[in-house]
């Protein structure tokens, strides 16, 4: 006769915290939490003691004080009377400027190099291998220094442009001057600027000028043009899917939506180009691209471009050959195969690492220190710290800037990833 008995009811024993898998994970977590918190408290305590010993406090008030130093490249109004906070913003804008410029050129270079490296042409693919391996295996810092040295040592001085039989001459129809002080390119100026124009006292002629309003208006119109163009394209696709016929002239309408409004604005503002001109010992007018910006920009683009080339190559190779063959079997042209079959699949592989390369490029722009480019590390994390002695606060803000930038970009990447993810079980 079998009797059913309840399992013996045991009380909770302390040893269960370690040996019972139900409780062990809790134990481990609590112990880890306590240890980490103790470590953090220890660090914070050390900071407080050390600050007291040095007679310092923890205060961000220095951001409102007069900076007292000049920044040679500024995208917004700044003088040495401005505050440290303003200097930090100028630095942040400079960082973002070189990062955006670098990302654009690196993508173009990388896509070209990646596609050409897959080319059947032996010499071209070898050449691209040399480029990719050369830039991937040599430190970026060295490339920045090399390009900076090329710019400062290998280019003529402004005075070489002087005289009848000058040693150096400007290129592209006397519009661009490459000197050892930087590259001078034409600037866009407006005869009917929104910021108002001065009039030459002698001749009564209007002096063309440029104001922030002009540039913002122009950019806004161009962006609106692209949005309109996208709208026209989507509408044409919808019509095509419904009726089978794409409305004629869609391409020209899309092009016009971008170009025509921008042209109208340019004409309305009376846009002309202001060419750089040798005056005194240096070039005046035009836009002066400093060597530091050029070296950093080119080096970042070439270096990141090499990595992007590998990503593009891997992405294209990841699409199996059967996809191409299937597309050909359906009677698709090679260009359609590329656009409709290969690229959409390759992009899913390419985009995530591509964006993390953009992130790397942004972080690598802190190597600006090597050529004296005034990015956020040189203003907020460099001169400001040296002048105010607030290294703790300065480094914290600097770190936060980079961290927030990274988190924003990787957050955007996650959203994109989720939107293109293959729907699986």
């Amino acid at each position: 006769m079998a009797t059913m008995t309840d399992p013996p009811v045991e009380g909770f024993r302390l040893s269960q915290l370690i040996y019972d898998t139900r409780y062990r994970s809790m134990t481990i977590q609590v112990v880890a939490f306590v240890l980490i918190m103790l470590g953090l408290v220890w660090l914070a305590n050390n900071v407080v003691t050390n600050l007291q010993a040095l007679g310092k406090d923890f205060d961000f008030g220095f951001l409102g004080n007069r900076a007292g130093y000049d920044i040679n490249q500024r995208l917004v109004e700044y003088s040495n009377d401005s505050t440290h906070g303003r200097a930090a913003i100028v630095g942040i804008l400079n960082t973002l400027l070189v990062a955006v410029l670098g990302c654009i050129t690196a993508t173009v270079l990388g896509v070209f190099a990646g596609v050409l490296r897959l080319s059947k042409n032996w010499i071209v693919s070898r050449l691209m291998s040399v480029y990719v391996e050369g830039f991937r295996n040599i430190p970026l810092l060295l490339w920045i220094l090399v390009i900076f040295a090329v710019m400062t040592e290998g280019t003529p001085q402004p005075r070489d442009f002087r005289g009848e039989d000058a040693e150096a001459s400007m290129i592209l129809g006397d519009s661009v001057a490459i000197t050892n002080r930087g590259i001078y390119i034409p600037n866009l100026v407006f005869n009917r600027s929104l910021g108002g124009n001065e009039v030459d006292a002698d001749t009564g002629a209007v002096i063309a000028s440029q104001s922030a309003g002009d540039i913002i208006l122009l950019l806004a119109v161009i962006i609106a043009g692209f949005l309109a163009s996208g709208f026209i394209g989507r509408r044409a696709t919808a019509i095509q899917e419904k009726t089978g016929v794409r409305p004629p002239g869609t391409f020209w309408m899309r092009l016009g939506a971008v170009v025509v409004p921008a042209l109208i604005v340019l004409v309305a503002l009376g846009a002309t180009l202001e060419y750089p001109e040798l005056r005194g010992f240096n070039f005046a007018d035009g836009i002066h691209l400093r060597n530091s910006l050029i070296a950093l920009w080119f080096a970042l683009s070439l270096y990141t471009g090499a990595f992007i080339a590998e990503i593009v190559r891997a992405g294209i190779m990841a699409v199996s050959k059967g996809q191409t063959e299937a597309a050909f079997a359906l009677g698709m042209r090679p260009s359609w195969t590329m656009n409709l079959v290969i690229l959409p699949q390759a992009l899913r592989v390419i985009i995530p690492p591509l964006i993390s390369q953009f992130l790397n490029l942004t972080k690598n722009s802190s190597l600006a220190i090597a050529v004296g480019y005034m990015d956020v590390r040189s203003t907020l994390g460099g001169i400001t710290i040296n002048q105010t002695g607030r290294e703790l606060e300065g480094m914290l803000l600097l770190g936060l800037f980079y961290l927030i930038t990274s988190l924003i970009i990787s957050g955007a990447m996650n959203i994109y990833n989720n939107s293109v993810k293959l729907q699986e079980r």
Binding site: L51, L127, L141, M395, Y402, L403
Partner: protein, 440 residues
């Protein structure tokens, strides 16, 4: 058969001699047609490439080949060039490789005492020998004993001083291993693991120092000590790079496991650590190490800048490696985890025997490219005042003898880095092929 032959006269009775294939279907012409001129676009690209290569070589080759190897200063180089009736109309003329002969010891060893150069060289040889059993499985397994001992011997060779310091630190590891090995049957695996971690730490903190001091007082065995400030050039890059690579790997694995863990708190701490480290550039971390570390340590502590940099580089690289390994862990099919569970393996057993070997294999390319990145990033230490090769190229240029010399130094440094990094990437490709187990 023979009758048929007799009737069918149109069948040839003897073989025709073999003919050479048409010139366009064989040999270099065929190769060129297929690889260089297969379409008009390709032909244009080929011609463009050849023009580019020609101009680059025409600019660089004479400059390199005609370079001057024997001179004491840049001005002497220029005199020799002019005496040759040099090509001064080209602007820079010829390379002055003499700077490498004059300053190679600084670029490679920094200010390391020149009569002690054998020590870094011996350490490098030892390091390579210790690496051999890890890299190639044809090397005898007994070599792993050398691998375990090498870090301590190398550190002792490089920094010198008494032998008892590194020895006492090594003893700590032996103690930990012994407790784990012999304590596990007696007090249980978990307690033994905890003891094997805690006791060596206590030993290092409180016992190792006094014992080493006493022993070196009693039996002074040692070699001349070299301070970290004397390290420089490629020696510095190698020391920082190698220590970073060796130390960041285990830390990266732990962080990756933490990030994949189900334990909420451990998971969140790993995520925060990894994202914070990865979100901020290495330069900012290096400045943190040089400017701020003293704030976070008890008042009065002050240690070597090089050690601080190594710690920072290790933490930085471990976050990147953790992400690479996490990718590997995530790429494993779910069935592998379930299979390990169904065999009744516990967490550490399943990780050690089933999951990590596969996950690490998948992540080899990523890990190696992280290592390459780390090694390249060692040049950034120039900004916190250590003299790496680039720092020395600036120092050499600052002397009166070699003021104004750029390209020769850049080429030398770049070439050295290229050889190391390219070697690493080729090794990772070899490893990938060797470990590939799928049948393709």
């Amino acid at each position: 058969m023979s009758e048929i032959h007799a009737e069918t006269a149109y069948v040839r009775t003897e073989m025709l001699p073999e003919q050479a294939p048409p010139i366009t279907a064989a040999g270099p012409v065929k190769w060129m047609r297929e690889n260089l001129f297969s379409s008009p676009l390709n032909a244009i690209l080929t011609v463009l490439s050849i023009i580019v290569i020609y101009y680059v070589l025409q600019g660089i080759l004479p400059w390199m080949v005609n370079g001057i190897w024997n001179a004491d200063s840049l001005s002497e180089c220029r005199e020799i060039r002019d005496a040759r009736g040099g090509s001064s109309e080209h602007g820079h003329g010829v390379a002055c490789w003499a700077v490498l002969g004059d300053r190679w010891h600084q670029l490679t060893f920094g200010f390391y005492p020149s009569d002690l150069y054998w020590r870094p060289i011996l350490a490098l040889a030892l390091f390579l020998a210790a690496l051999a059993p890890v890299l190639f499985d044809t090397v005898p397994r007994k070599m792993f004993i050398l691998t375990a001992a090498a870090p301590f011997i190398c550190a002792w060779l490089l920094w010198g001083g008494t032998i008892w310091g590194p020895l006492m630190i090594a003893v700590g590891f032996v103690i930990g291993w012994a407790i784990f090995k012999f304590g596990a049957p007696a007090i249980g695996a978990l307690s033994a693991t905890i003891a094997a971690i805690l006791i060596p730490i206590l030993y290092w903190l409180f016992i190792a120092g006094p014992i080493a001091g006493a022993l070196s007082g009693a039996i002074p065995i040692g070699i001349e000590a070299v301070p970290s400030d004397d390290f420089g050039g490629f020696l510095l890059a190698f020391v920082i790079g190698a220590s970073g690579i060796i130390l960041s790997m285990p830390l990266g694995i732990v962080l990756a496991l933490g990030r994949q863990s189900d334990l909420f708190i451990i998971n969140k701490f790993s995520v925060i650590f990894i994202e914070v480290i990865r979100g901020v550039p290495l330069i900012v971390w290096l400045f943190t190490a040089s400017l701020l570390l003293n704030y976070f340590l008890p008042p009065g502590t002050n240690f070597d800048l090089m050690l601080r940099v190594i710690i920072m580089v290790t933490l930085f690289s471990s976050a990147y490696i953790a992400e690479v390994i996490r990718g590997g862990l995530a790429a494993l099919p779910r069935g592998q985890y379930e299979g390990a569970d169904s065999l009744g393996l516990n967490y550490w057993q399943s990780m050690q025997l089933i999951i990590l070997p596969q996950a690490l294999k998948i992540s080899i390319p990523g890990i190696v490219s992280s290592f390459i990145g780390l090694f390249k990033d060692t040049v950034l230490v120039v900004f916190v005042g250590l003299s790496d090769p680039i720092g020395f190229s600036n120092l050499i240029r600052a002397t009166t003898d070699w003021n104004g010399i750029y390209w020769e130094l850049f080429i030398f440094i770049g070439l050295c880095f290229f050889i190391c990094c390219y070697g690493m990437s080729r090794y990772s490709q070899y490893l990938e092929r060797k470990l590939r187990t799928d049948h393709r």
